[in-house]
């Protein structure tokens, strides 16, 4: 158990190093760059004209069905990983492989259904 957390301590150390590289770069950059903000400079860019309307404009997220599909499939896909490590070990074999085809069948049927419903084409 000790080794397990040692591994993630290294991970945390590198995350801190990464943050320090980016933060240190930006801090050093502060000495080199000018800081002369004006009201015009701080406006939102819209091809040179004054921005029209609200910045977070309302828009229709057309691909929300993809998002649902992704969540469904991704949750399934996560179970592939533990299964992948054992399926060909002694004592598993044929039956486990059959289970994989059930799994693939479900995914393929779902994909086919979504495709026939027309939700996979961007409108």
């Amino acid at each position: 158990m000790g080794d397990y957390f040692d591994g993630y301590a290294i991970f945390a150390a590198l995350a801190v190093i990464g943050g320090a590289l980016v933060g240190g770069g930006l801090a050093a950059n502060r000495l080199l760059r000018p800081a002369l903000p004006t009201a015009e400079k701080l406006t939102t860019y819209e091809c040179g004209v004054d921005p029209v309307g609200d910045h977070w404009a309302q828009s229709y997220v057309r691909y929300y069905v993809f998002a649902y599909l992704y969540v469904v499939f991704a949750v399934d896909a996560v179970f592939l990983f533990p299964w992948a490590t054992v399926f060909s070990a002694p004592g598993f074999g044929g039956t486990t492989l059959g289970e994989m085809f059930v799994f693939l069948g479900f995914l393929a049927a779902g994909l086919l259904y979504a495709g026939r419903k027309g939700v996979l084409s961007w409108v």
Binding site: D6, N29, T44, S121
Partner: protein, 321 residues
């Protein structure tokens, strides 16, 4: 408890690789594109072969003003470049560069770790798209989200095919289990993984979310100076990480013609740069894909192909033992 000095040295090596390799890829992109497209600009600065162009770019980025638009969500806007770039550094932890523990962290679920952490990099770009309070950025950010959702799935399937073939999730274990016959056996997985990875990095021809000639680099529209440079670096670091993961999963990582133990890092580097060259080559050769074509490629081609690869891997693995 492993030797502390060894860990410090390994972390320093990872940080050095992270500092140098993306810049080498950037330099290679300048020169390869210049040669392939007959561009004169990148071949001029500094005299011989335009070697100073990248230095000049760096100097320019370092002295530009750091503008945060008044309408932007300041905290998220400033944090986004770090979220975009640091995950690629963290993935390097689990990439093995040689046999017998020549890796910083040999996690039992290294493959899962690598995929999970790589996904975080995309969130940096989505944060940038949302926090800029700019219509181009918002459009770009939403396209990035759509692209991540469509391409993450085939990428995960292709990667788990390699894990099935090796019977382990440890990246070192996968390279140990690799044999030459994986090349034909996992060929579909290799292509699906690489293409889906390119789409996740938003490299041309999958750069609809950035589309500099249409939505002004999408989520990066409002960025300038060093923060913008960090996003560019994140793209190059992403190329390095994707090439390294592809090499480790499908091309035998540190395996080479001789001296695997001593020269493993060299064989891996050769493969990484060969794949990075392909990434640049694809950018030069193909026009940008339209948003609906992008989605269609993922759902109608890559996902079914990846499922087929899973079936093939499973059957052959059980049948041959």
């Amino acid at each position: 408890m492993p030797d502390l000095l060894e860990i410090v040295l390994k972390l320093a090596a990872v940080a050095a690789a992270f500092g140098v390799l993306p810049l080498l890829v950037g330099q290679a992109e300048h020169k390869v594109m210049a040669h392939m497209q007959g561009r004169l600009g990148p071949m001029y600065a500094g005299g011989f072969h335009g070697w100073a162009q990248l230095v000049a770019d760096g100097v320019k980025f370092a002295q530009k003003e750091d503008v945060v638009p008044a309408a932007a969500d300041r905290t998220v806007f400033k944090l986004a470049p770090a979220v975009a770039i640091v995950p690629y550094l963290l993935v390097l932890l689990v990439i093995p560069v040689g046999p017998d523990g020549q890796v910083v962290l040999d996690l039992g679920l290294g493959l899962f770790f690598a995929l999970a952490v790589m996904g975080i990099g995309v969130i940096g770009a989505i944060m940038a798209g949302w926090s800029s309070a700019n219509k181009y950025s918002l459009l770009g950010g939403m396209r990035i989200a759509a692209q991540l959702m469509s391409y993450e799935l085939p990428m995960v399937f292709a990667a788990s095919s390699a894990a099935m073939a090796a019977g382990t999730l440890s990246l070192s274990g996968i390279v140990e289990a690799w044999h030459w016959y994986w090349l034909p056996w996992q060929a579909i997985g290799l292509v699906v993984f690489f293409v889906a990875g390119l789409a996740e990095l938003r490299r041309p021809p999958f750069d609809m979310p950035l589309a500099d000639s249409e939505i002004i680099l999408g989520p990066y529209t409002e960025y300038g100076g060093l923060r913008f440079a960090f996003f560019l670096l994140a793209e190059y670091a992403g190329i390095v990480v994707l090439s390294a993961l592809t090499a480790v999963l499908f091309l035998g990582g540190w395996r080479g013609p001789f001296l695997d133990a001593e020269l493993g890092w060299l064989w891996l580097l050769v493969k990484v740069f060969a794949l990075a060259f392909v990434v640049i080559w694809l950018r030069v050769s193909y026009p940008r894909m339209r948003e609906d074509q992008l989605q269609k490629l993922a759902w109608a081609w890559l996902v079914p192909l990846a499922l087929a690869q899973l079936a093939l891997t499973g059957v052959l693995r059980v049948a041959l033992g």
